[in-house]
């Protein structure tokens, strides 16, 4: 039954719509004037949260796939990752437009001087090659091995995002620590898989970039 649901093209379309809900909510709140007294900050924080959530959900696909033996879950991974990138673009656009008013000197000074901006922009830059190489054609061109190696960047991008958040808050670190804990869990699972796999005989071809 699960296989049928996962394979149904409507499942993917529905998930696409669900991933747009946070953006739609922001637009709706905007029309209603409910973006708080500081709309710029509210949108920055909200989209920043969603970047981290989508990255962590994307990183959760492989463990879920293995644990529940549902290889079809991989069908959604690229879309989820691209949504992380989408929210990161909104996040960055807000910063460039309203915090810096496109003042290139100010932006560069910020990147150099403020550790949380440095690590945040590093994480964001890492997402660009991942988004660019997300198409099936790019997977073919790179070859699955290289592609997979490149896409391990998501671990570092997510870590950068968590640190960016941790360094930003003043004293209440509950949320960034929660994201950090989830990331740690996902990475511990991976490391255990990698180390457990080595002696095993059959190298499993990773279902990379599976498209519809």
């Amino acid at each position: 039954m699960w296989k049928k649901i996962l394979f149904n093209p409507w499942t993917k379309r529905a998930l696409f719509a669900v991933c747009l809900v946070p953006a739609a909510l922001l637009v709706w709140r905007g029309f209603e004037g409910r973006l708080t007294a500081n709309p710029v900050e509210f949108i920055e924080h909200s989209t920043g949260d969603w970047v981290l959530r989508f990255l962590l959900i994307t990183l959760g696909i492989t463990p879920l796939r293995k644990i529940f033996e549902q290889p079809l879950l991989t069908r959604f991974r690229r879309m989820l990752g691209l949504f992380a990138f989408f929210y990161a673009c909104v996040h960055l656009t807000m910063y460039l437009t309203f915090d810096q008013a496109f003042d290139l000197k100010g932006i560069w000074a910020d990147v150099l001087k403020r550790p949380y901006i440095t690590v945040g922009s590093a994480g964001l830059l890492m997402l660009i090659p991942l988004a660019v190489t997300s198409t099936a054609a790019m997977v073919r061109r790179l070859g699955p091995k290289n592609w997979q190696r490149l896409h391990r960047l998501i671990y570092f991008a997510t870590l950068a995002g968590v640190i960016h958040y941790y360094w930003l808050v003043k004293s209440d670190v509950r949320q960034p620590l929660m994201y950090g804990a989830i990331l740690t869990l996902l990475m511990v699972w991976r490391v255990r898989m990698w180390t457990a796999k080595k002696p095993a005989a059959k190298p499993q071809p990773a279902p990379v970039g599976v498209s519809q």
Binding site: T36, A37, A101
Partner: protein, 310 residues
């Protein structure tokens, strides 16, 4: 919290304030007639402050809306999100309220709030308010200079600093445990700063008593310093000899100093203090040293390196 809930529906959305106030009065009259106890609503509402005089301390800039001033607050005892204090501060009991004033003074005394409010005529002052997080507001406060109260207790010759302590009651402030900073919240000023006519002992804003989330019933306002110096809900004021501990400095001395004068030349280690976002506007504007109050306060700091004494 994964998905932010839409802001809660407020009764004021459907019922005009006059009407519900009338209803409260009606209910109060009814319950009084029945011989019941005090009306339960009174603690929640702000009240109009009468006899407020205009002062000459007026910034000629557009006022921040009352809605924004009262729904975008840093009051960590009631939650660390800006919207949380407005939702959670209803549990703060502001009456009865006393302020204990003592330390190195000739006449230490514990004052009732009412007694303090009668010490001098209440003035309206429109001040800029600059938060260390690089946002700012323009707020019509109501109060009078702190020096009025300090003179009543007669600081003695040894007194060099003033230490403030704010209310901390975990029962009224259950969310304080997530604040990540030590409580009770404490702050301090040098005596000359505390005696400065700009240092406002504050009881209200926009013509009414302070809403709980803004530091009811009595707070400080120090317009040339970052907002966290302006303590809320004060219960104790002590005159002391040495620089008193201050909460944010205790939490992180490298980032938050004792003086914390608004200073675009001294960046916060993690973010720029060169500009600020005026609440209600989208783009940032340049921050002015001493938040624009340099003419009045700069002389207190002559000879001091304000980058070191941040």
């Amino acid at each position: 919290m994964l998905i932010r809930k839409p802001a809660e529906f407020r009764y004021s959305d459907i019922t005009p304030k006059e009407q519900y106030l009338n209803r409260r009065r009606f209910l109060a009259a009814g319950s009084a007639a029945l011989g019941s106890l005090a009306l339960p609503f009174s603690a929640l509402a702000t009240m109009k402050l009468n006899g407020v005089t205009k002062s000459s301390f007026m910034v000629n800039e557009k006022l921040t809306s009352k809605e924004d001033i009262t729904h975008y607050n840093n009051y960590y005892e009631f939650g660390t999100d800006k919207e949380e204090p407005a939702k959670n501060a209803g549990t703060l009991r502001t009456s009865p309220w006393t302020v204990q004033v003592g330390g190195l003074v000739n006449k230490p005394k514990t004052f009732d709030l009412d007694a303090i409010m009668k010490m001098a005529p209440l003035e309206e002052r429109i001040y800029r308010h600059r938060c260390v997080e690089a946002w700012s507001m323009v707020i019509p406060w109501i109060g009078f200079p702190l020096n009025v109260l300090l003179k009543q207790v007669e600081p003695n010759a040894k007194a060099k600093y003033v230490a403030f302590q704010t209310l901390f009651d975990p029962k009224q402030m259950p969310r304080a445990r997530y604040g990540g900073i030590p409580f009770p919240y404490v702050e301090g000023l040098r005596l000359d700063e505390a005696m400065h006519p700009l240092a406002l002992l504050t009881f209200g804003l926009y013509g009414e008593t302070l809403p709980n989330q803004n530091g009811a019933p009595i707070r400080m306002v120090l317009p040339w310093k970052y907002g966290f110096k302006s303590v809320k809900s004060i219960v104790k004021i002590d005159l002391v000899e040495k620089e008193p501990p201050t909460t944010w400095k205790l939490a992180n001395a490298e980032e938050y100093g004792f003086y914390s004068n608004v200073n675009p030349e001294r960046d916060h280690p993690r973010w720029s203090q060169g500009s600020e976002r005026r609440i209600g506007e989208l783009f940032k504007v340049k921050t002015i040293k001493f938040n624009g109050y340099g003419d009045q306060v700069a002389s207190m700091y002559t000879g001091m390196d304000l980058r070191k004494n941040y």
